[in-house]
């Protein structure tokens, strides 16, 4: 066995040719999906590297999404926790979260592959809205699968998607939430193998999705490096911190720091009501190696290999798996995984609102809550990905705090 230090020096945190991050990843897909996934796999890197693609992608990120997003020094929050805390303001992106970085990239990819029909899955509706948005922008047909229960819980986002011209189809199988919406989107793709592109919303799914989505989201750490250099005179903070459901905002913030071993990587999972309560979504603590949605990763499941239902107050972290990159960060020891309960997250969300005038998404609130669980030194420079704004969660905050 290597020591942890040796592992850090020797191993790669990028996907290999078969889409593996260490033991995790791959493409466990039925043959019906092979032509679609293979078409994407054989072309995605080449397409992304085309100058015309890069030009269009960056122009849209700048003029449409509103990038670069600020790196904001949170003075009062820093003072409270006695560390230098910066917030990467992805909540200021168009549509209110980092999700749109990926949907802009994938819609341009879909166009270059000649697809005219877009499908997506969504849990809370953020990725659905981001997908419906870019489909409206490009004039493409858009179908979003959403669990029937989530449709009831997230009415404002359903209305947004409809207003943007998307069709929202209820997933009626299983527990009728995100996992099932993803199953339905995959079944749609099996039934529409020629004209359809599936815009997956996180760093999950079969290769090349985890790598492709991470690359689109990597704009977050690309900007952060420059911005931190301007204010602190160095590109590398001591820690980068992000919440992880599937893990796309985390992949974006971690991306350019993966090989910088002096930067600590902290992934924050949703403990729900507590890791041992049976109502949790802390995949690194509760998951075992398994296969979900075409990828080998850590997965919450029964001893018989049936996928179990996670729980979190935050719909965006309510996923029984985790992206294979994160599973690898966990197993290799490169990443530190912390889990935060509903209650800790809700308190942190309220606290940031009062200290900084920023209402965060409940997903993001999990990352903000780590200071109760982990101590830092006053000189530590910490960057937290403020992945989304909390407007969509107002009702949950109101009910929780009786506001």
């Amino acid at each position: 066995m290597n020591t942890k230090d040796n592992i850090h020096q020797d191993i790669s945190y990028q996907a290999d040719e078969r889409g593996y991050y260490g033991d995790f990843g791959g493409a466990f897909i039925p043959e019906m999906l092979y032509p679609n996934v293979e078409e994407l796999r054989s072309q995605y890197i080449e397409v992304m590297q085309e100058p015309s693609f890069q030009k269009e992608f960056h122009a849209l990120l700048k003029d449409y999404v509103g990038r670069p997003t600020p790196l904001y020094y949170a003075e009062r929050f820093s003072k409270k926790y006695n560390a230098k805390i910066y917030l990467k303001r992805e909540d200021l992106c168009h549509t209110g979260a980092h999700k749109v970085n990926n949907t802009i990239g994938q819609i341009l990819m879909a166009k270059r592959l000649g697809k005219n029909r877009i499908i997506a899955e969504t849990g809370a509706g953020q990725h659905g809205v981001a997908t419906a948005t870019v489909c409206a922008l490009m004039g493409l047909e858009c179908i979003v699968y959403m669990g029937a229960i989530d449709i009831q819980r997230q009415a404002p986002n359903v209305a947004r998607m409809k207003m943007l011209g998307a069709e929202v189809r209820p997933a009626l199988s299983g527990s009728k939430t995100l996992k099932d919406a993803t199953n339905e989107a995959i079944r749609d793709w099996i039934n529409n193998p020629v004209n359809t592109h599936y815009i997956i919303g996180s760093v999950v799914g079969p290769h090349p999705y985890p790598d492709m989505v991470a690359r689109f989201q990597s704009v977050i750490s690309e900007e952060t490096k420059k911005q931190l250099h301007e204010v602190e005179g160095r590109e590398n903070p001591d820690y980068v911190v992000a919440c992880v459901g599937g893990g796309s905002n985390a992949a974006g913030l971690f991306y350019h720091y993966l090989d910088q071993n002096e930067v600590g990587i902290i992934a924050v999972e949703a403990a729900g009501k507590g890791i041992d309560t049976g109502e949790s979504a802390a995949t690194s603590a509760l998951g075992k190696e398994g296969i979900i949605h075409g990828s080998k990763t850590l997965l919450m499941q029964t001893s018989d290999g049936q996928i179990t239902e996670p729980y979190s107050i935050s719909a965006g972290l309510d996923y029984p798996g985790v992206g294979p990159m994160h599973a690898h960060l966990f197993r290799s020891g490169r990443g530190e995984f912390i889990s935060i309960t509903d209650q800790q997250a809700m308190q942190a969300g309220l606290e940031l609102s009062k200290l900084e005038g920023i209402i965060p998404a409940i997903e993001t609130s999990h990352a903000l809550a780590i200071f109760e669980e982990r101590k830092f030194s006053p000189e530590d420079v910490i960057i937290i990905n403020l992945s989304g704004r909390g407007d969509k969660d107002l009702n949950t905050y109101i009910d929780y705090f009786n506001l």
Partner: protein
């Protein structure tokens, strides 16, 4: 010789049926198998239920959900099949998704199959590349035939690859769909069936997805060695009960 290989050598068109183990009741497995054999069915796919069956339409999804609620597990199924070879001699194939097999332990799973007398495996989400890299040696060590799928979208080049990697038959998915989604065949299917037939592959093909009655069975077996019926059989059992297997088989041929 593996029972699948012997069966493929027989000079007849093969009828193969799929059912979900643990459906409609947990203890129906052996009884349904006996009825299938007695009704002259040539080969059986025993479905190991999974919580998230991506390649399946509503009928098999629903039967899987009920089977799991009934308490079906990999271990339970193996226990039910412990003495299956005392009474059943037609080829038996386990069909399911890869995660339950992975959790059981791939080698332990394969060893158990050999011990019981299972002849082959169909795991739609264990594709060629992953199989060849990590699992082929284990399957072969225990004498199991692994069945790959092809679809109308599969390129000729990949069909040749799959033919080379196969050691029994090729499962020809009739249309771009999940199970149970189509009814009847049209020109698209006959063009595709003809294309594959003209490739003169080393391994025989058995057509599945969309076979639901005597006429689709007849069309499929005009081009291929046999046909597999799944959703239509499950629907029949749902309506007429687990004792009505012969009645269904008689409507097919």
């Amino acid at each position: 010789m593996n029972r699948i290989l012997s069966k493929l050598k027989e000079d007849k068109k093969l009828l193969s049926l799929y059912f979900t183990a643990g459906y409609p009741s947990i203890n129906d497995t052996m009884d349904i198998l006996q009825q299938l054999q007695d009704s002259g069915v040539d080969m059986v796919e025993i479905g190991l239920p999974f919580s998230d069956p991506l390649a399946d339409g509503p009928t098999i999804q629903e039967s899987s959900t009920i089977a799991l609620k009934n308490g079906m597990t990999t271990e339970t199924l193996f226990n039910q099949l412990k003495d299956v070879r005392k009474t059943i001699d037609i080829p038996l194939i386990l069909m399911g998704y890869f995660n339950p097999m992975l959790q059981y332990g791939v080698e332990k799973f394969c060893a158990k199959c050999q011990e019981i007398g299972i002849d082959g495996i169909i795991m739609p989400d264990l594709p060629l590349a992953e199989y060849e890299a990590d699992y082929k040696d284990i399957f072969e060590k225990y004498g199991l035939i692994n069945v790959f799928l092809i679809t109308p979208q599969t390129s000729d080049e990949r069909i040749r690859q799959i033919d080379n990697a196969s050691n029994g038959f090729i499962y020809m998915v009739s249309s771009a769909s999940t199970t149970g989604a189509t009814s009847g065949f049209d020109n698209t299917q006959s063009t595709y069936f003809e294309r594959i037939s003209n490739m003169h592959l080393t391994h025989p093909q058995v057509i599945g997805f969309g076979i639901n009655n005597a006429s689709t069975f007849k069309v499929a077996t005009t081009y291929a060695k046999g046909a597999i019926i799944g959703s239509a059989f499950i629907k029949h059992i749902t309506t007429y009960g687990a004792q009505s297997v012969r009645k269904f088989v008689e409507t097919i041929r």
